[in-house]
Symmetry: C2
Subunit: 439 residues, 2 copies
């Protein structure tokens, strides 16, 4: 009965956690059974773990922080206010503290910051049988992730790697160096986490060793940490594509002021850019006054440019993030987008023309020059959609070339860029087709 109650509580706590004030979180946590509390604690984000640890009494806090592997402990300490870090570090045992301190020197988003300094190691001249019993000893002494065993020389240079499957499958008397692989995928300590995750995706590995410039093994990055990295990077890109700064935290847990700042900056910048539409429109004020009917189609035309631009920029941003498209592929992309933009523009132009002819037949809204108005709208659509597609697909290249994140070529950014030009294109086409007739 007690267990059922506790089960309910654990899933309840998981669900309501993001909405609970810190005090209630602690209360809920202390009500869990030891086994549940352990699983629950390990499933929390580093930020939440840090918050919980700081709220616990000292003895409890030591117990919980020692549950963490060195790389996870380093993440928790990085998520702690600077003033409290020393206090948490002091709670670790000596070996772990040394390892964690070394890890804290790396940025959170590079290979060094992701790696675990405890790995399974063997020597090249051991027999397979010796290696297996050596690994059993290592497993007893430390919390290593065992999937690959790394073959090191006495100076800790990485010579090769052997998976557990290979080690187990090999005859017991063979030497490790006879069964190890020497063509390995490795990462440098400073490699960006996005590049590390592409290595994992490309080679389907369970762990990648991190080596320094001299070839010493420094630690291993395991694929379970990469799932989080991939989620995190995708979230950042998606939020940027949506036209804002990356939140860097779960939606429900970001404070109001922080949320506002992340959104207001880009929104205000886009607003200032969009003001150019008012400037552009004021150049055509006389044309609008003479032919108000032209004004009716402005939102339709400029938004079509924005939509086609948003498609193109999103495609290119994502293809770049996945490593499918690189800077020098821009020429290939522009040729394809030119063709796609022309085809899409023609499609929308035809729909627009038909719509105007049809509405005219039904409601007689557009006066005697309805056909020329329809033609103006159709030709403008071809131009605006083509322009939107090209601008949308090239902006990510331009941003990357200039050293910015291509994901900043957000749908709203491209739309703003295209809106101003769309107005100019529309009124230019109109003055060509309608000059002397309506204008």
């Amino acid at each position: 009965m007690n267990e059922i109650h506790s089960e309910l509580l654990s899933s309840d706590l998981q669900e309501t956690w993001p909405l609970l004030p810190p005090g209630d979180r602690l209360d809920g946590f202390t009500l869990l059974s030891r086994a549940e509390a352990e699983e629950f604690f390990l499933s929390l984000s580093a930020r939440d773990q840090a918050e919980l640890l700081l709220a616990l009494p000292l003895k409890e806090c030591r117990l919980w922080i020692r549950l963490l592997a060195p790389d996870d402990a380093a993440d928790v300490i990085q998520a702690t206010p600077a003033a409290e870090r020393g206090r948490l570090l002091a709670l670790l045992d000596d070996t772990t503290r040394t390892e964690v301190t070394a890890l804290l020197a790396y940025a959170e988003d590079e290979a060094g910051g992701l790696m675990n300094p405890r790995y399974a190691r063997v020597r090249p001249d051991m027999s397979v049988d010796e290696a297996i019993s050596y690994l059993r000893r290592q497993a007893r002494e430390q919390l290593a992730t065992i999937y690959y065993a790394y073959v090191l020389d006495p100076q800790q240079h990485l010579l090769g790697v052997v998976s557990f499957r290979e080690l187990f499958a090999a005859p017991g008397v063979k030497k490790v160096q006879e069964v190890m692989r020497t063509d390995m995928v490795t990462a440098s300590e400073q490699m960006d986490q996005e590049a590390v995750s592409l290595l994992f995706a490309q080679h389907d590995l369970m762990a990648i060793p991190v080596v320094d410039a001299e070839g010493h093994l420094r630690g291993i990055v395991t694929v379970d940490d990469i799932v989080d990295v991939v989620q995190e990077e995708a979230t950042e890109d998606i939020q940027k594509i949506g036209g804002m700064e990356a939140l860097e935290g779960p939606y429900l847990q970001i404070g109001f002021v922080r949320m506002l700042r992340k959104r207001a900056g880009w929104l205000a910048a886009l607003f200032l850019g969009e003001m150019l539409t008012a400037t552009a429109m004021s150049y055509y004020e006389n044309e609008i006054a003479r032919a108000v009917v032209l004004a009716l189609f402005i939102p339709l035309i400029i938004s079509s440019g924005g939509n086609s631009g948003s498609q193109a920029s999103t495609l290119v941003i994502r293809a770049m993030a996945l490593g499918e498209v690189r800077l020098r592929d821009w020429w290939w992309v522009i040729r394809r987008e030119l063709a796609v933009g022309l085809a899409l523009g023609t499609t929308l132009g035809l729909i627009g023309l038909l719509r105007i002819l049809f509405w005219q037949a039904l409601f007689r809204l557009y006066g005697e020059h309805f056909f020329l108005i329809g033609l103006t709208v159709a030709c403008s659509l071809v131009g605006v959609v083509l322009y939107g597609t090209i601008a949308g697909s090239m902006l990510p290249f331009l941003l990357r070339r200039l050293g910015f994140d291509p994901a900043s070529a957000s749908a709203p950014f491209v739309a703003t860029l295209v809106d101003v030009s769309g107005i100019v294109i529309y009124f230019t086409v109109a003055s060509l087709i309608l000059r002397g007739i309506l204008l």
Copy 2:
């Protein structure tokens, strides 16, 4: 020298692969050394592997397809035209063919389609020493992923799991059932791959067992496959957020017609929706004729609504995909977005008002009623941005409630929705403030 040449070729081939015609791909591939060809082949996507296999002579083809684990072979066969599948299946050895045929019954995007039917198994009453030598025998016989050993009863019911680390660390004479864990995270065969990837992210596991309704172990999903799933799902969401159908393939490899279809559908649908702006504008044709100055600010105002809506919908879509926000959290979200929308709208309104006052002082563009015009623009901005924020944040909830993918609440979709209402809000505010003065 020969090796250096071959090294260059392998990385060259990797880079140019997406752009090569099938014949050249085959030529390049056959030039690689055996070891490189093996690594290269395993790094290809299932689609590319299938294409290459079909182009190879029969004997070569058998060699290469037998390199693949059953789950990967099933992926390749799923990527092959139906007419060719039998031919590839016939090349597998009997055991693998049975396993692959069983896997083909599952959809590609559910747990059953991701799982590997070969896993390391032990019995609960074995001693740890016995279990380790039993695992060594299994490793010799089959290509199992060894990280966890699964404890099964004679009827193949999953009783528990023990990680290799735990097995290695335990005293050799202990029974497996004394060291195994029984509180496991498992997936059902039909569980959606997005849900499976959330399980991995939440529990930081290397593999999750797939069990059927009776508790039999059917296979295991390993985390390295999940990295691909997470990338794939994020790509789909990003492309939908950009206002198009998911491409389902790398940008550079999608054919022109397929690319066009994926983009034209949504673009045309958005265009038809956006036509309502022309209808809405025609209701206000007289107002525009009387005060052309009002038309100047239409793009500025409606795009601000679209931008704020795009921010809100993107945030909610991503939070839903990560499991941070669920359907029943809508009330919490709407209250927060109401406050955020009001704050953002007020900010933009103030900037807009200042801009009009400033431009009037500089260029005298807006006539004697410039202050009332500024006020109209400012008040409309508050309304439009608030409306955009609420519409953008609620649309994903509505779509999910109706059984659609919330990611379809794309930036362009929200913008289109908000554009029409934005025009109505603007002219309503204008008629309230300017009636009897300009209108």
